[in-house]
Symmetry: C2
Subunit: 299 residues, 2 copies
């Protein structure tokens, strides 16, 4: 069985583009008139689905991966969750590797339920079914290995993977993550745990299906983590709207230009705002190419 | 506006019972034949709803609070999320204070989407709607205050609250939480942050709507945290199936017997297994009374 990390690395090689389309779609991102009048969650979900599908259609040939932030779907209730499911299914159908950005976490048995939901399947009295099947899910490991192990176990079913929060892109991530435990920071301790958890799932390309979230907004720390964790692939948020640029990302990649996938959400979802008169999907396509060139130019 | 923490404390006073009914319901918890043949998520969701409603009906007079673990509903896909929504609505309708055990976490804007989903409401082009409205949601604060602030802000709409993971009940929680940052453990650092974040929402009973999750399986640490965080209410998992007993909990309460609500899930959901011939709802009722007496006896 092919590992999720190898599917991701192959997608990046095929497109020459180590980026992810961040589908953090909200009503406020859509061009005026696109959604019409939205009076309930069903209306909202229909508009989000339509927007996401148009972006996936436009970008699936040049962007290998979609990161779908589930918070923005939960916010629209049960219809929102239906839109989430249809979005992940559609992106996979179009050949994209799909990451559910869910940052799920709990103790063993309950982590197992989340793992079933995203990476495995759920037992019924007659057979089993997949709830929200994706290639990767993001995980918060504050609870330690027994909250992570069920994800590793469930990932064996379909060769899925996880990205564990190590160094997040937001300003106050430092409140806990940058404090010192002996001679290591909390995020270095977490990074070392992630590296260890991933040892059993290193794929053909030298990286593990157990990756790390490392924010682009801290370039020096990203570069140091790249050296420290040679088998850990990075999911890198913070590009674009959060302020990081192509050259900030250089250190997150290895000497071959592999080792990381960079997400952009708002800057692509709302690219139409900066390209007056251009269709939203074409504007997103243009911005995705600009982003690719910016990042590849930084190498 | 009444704060969530005061609603919870008043419910505990009314019933004389500082416990929560943990609705971590799964097909495997239901008595044989209850669900019939379950071939899809719709069948599963229907059975879970029926079971939960029967338990809420049986226990709402003696248990003031329901903690609903969302992982077990996500596992059943979109129909599972519908069952989650109907379960929280029904428990509230029956007068219970409802905690969504979701351990959500993200950076600012995205944490805001989760906060809208559970404690606030979601803007539409025409008005706004509530996605999964509860009294409290559990939160993981590995990302620091800008991941927490949106929950505090959204909670102002309806007077909701949060419980932040401080010291979890599982064995490997110690991998990160018990490491030392200077002279404090990681969980003490987190506890001190929680206390500080809660200062603005201390209610009539001296406790804040920003509470902490403190596992019953570490009685000494629980007692030390009780002394350290006098205005922080504790949500205490780990009783029953995870091994903690009434006397282990004493230290989580203050000298007046307040300051904590203890959750039990599996031991109540599957109480029928240890009471042959007794109806499942009656068995759950009996077990809830036994738990109350065990905990009150430890005081």
């Amino acid at each position: 069985m092919e590992l999720a990390i190898d599917r991701l690395i192959e997608g990046i090689a095929r497109t020459g583009n180590p980026t992810a389309l961040g589908l953090d779609t909200q009503l406020g991102h859509l061009p005026e008139g696109f959604a019409g009048e939205v009076r309930n969650f069903e209306d909202a979900a229909a508009a989000l689905k339509r927007y996401n599908k148009a972006l996936v259609d436009a970008l699936c040939g040049i962007v290998p991966c979609a990161k779908v932030q589930i918070a923005y779907y939960e916010m629209y209730g049960v219809p929102g969750m239906q839109a989430f499911r249809e979005t992940i299914d559609y992106a996979k159908q179009k050949g994209m590797v799909v990451i559910a950005d869910a940052k799920r976490n709990d103790i063993g048995a309950t982590a197992g339920a989340y793992a079933n939901a995203y990476l495995g399947s759920t037992p019924l009295t007659d057979g089993e079914k997949e709830a929200f099947p994706v290639d990767f899910v993001t995980v918060n490991a504050y609870l330690g290995i027994d909250g992570v192990e069920p994800f590793l176990k469930a990932s064996q079913t379909r060769g899925g993977g996880i990205f564990v929060l190590v160094k997040t892109s937001n300003p106050s991530g430092i409140q806990l993550q940058d404090l010192k435990i002996g001679d290591r920071t909390v995020y270095e301790v977490m990074g070392d745990l992630v590296s260890q958890w991933g040892e059993a799932s290193i794929g053909a390309n030298g990286y593990s299906s157990v990756g790390a979230v490392v924010g682009a907004t801290y370039p020096e720390q990203g570069a140091a983590l790249r050296q420290r964790l040679p088998h850990t692939f990075f999911l890198v948020p913070g590009y674009g709207a959060q302020g990081a640029t192509g050259k900030d990302l250089r250190g997150c990649f290895d000497e071959k230009g592999s080792g990381a996938v960079v997400n952009a959400s708002r800057s692509i979802l709302t690219a139409w705002r900066k390209q007056p008169g251009v269709d939203f999907a074409q504007a997103a396509y243009n911005e995705a190419l600009r982003m690719r060139d910016d990042i590849m130019g930084g190498m």
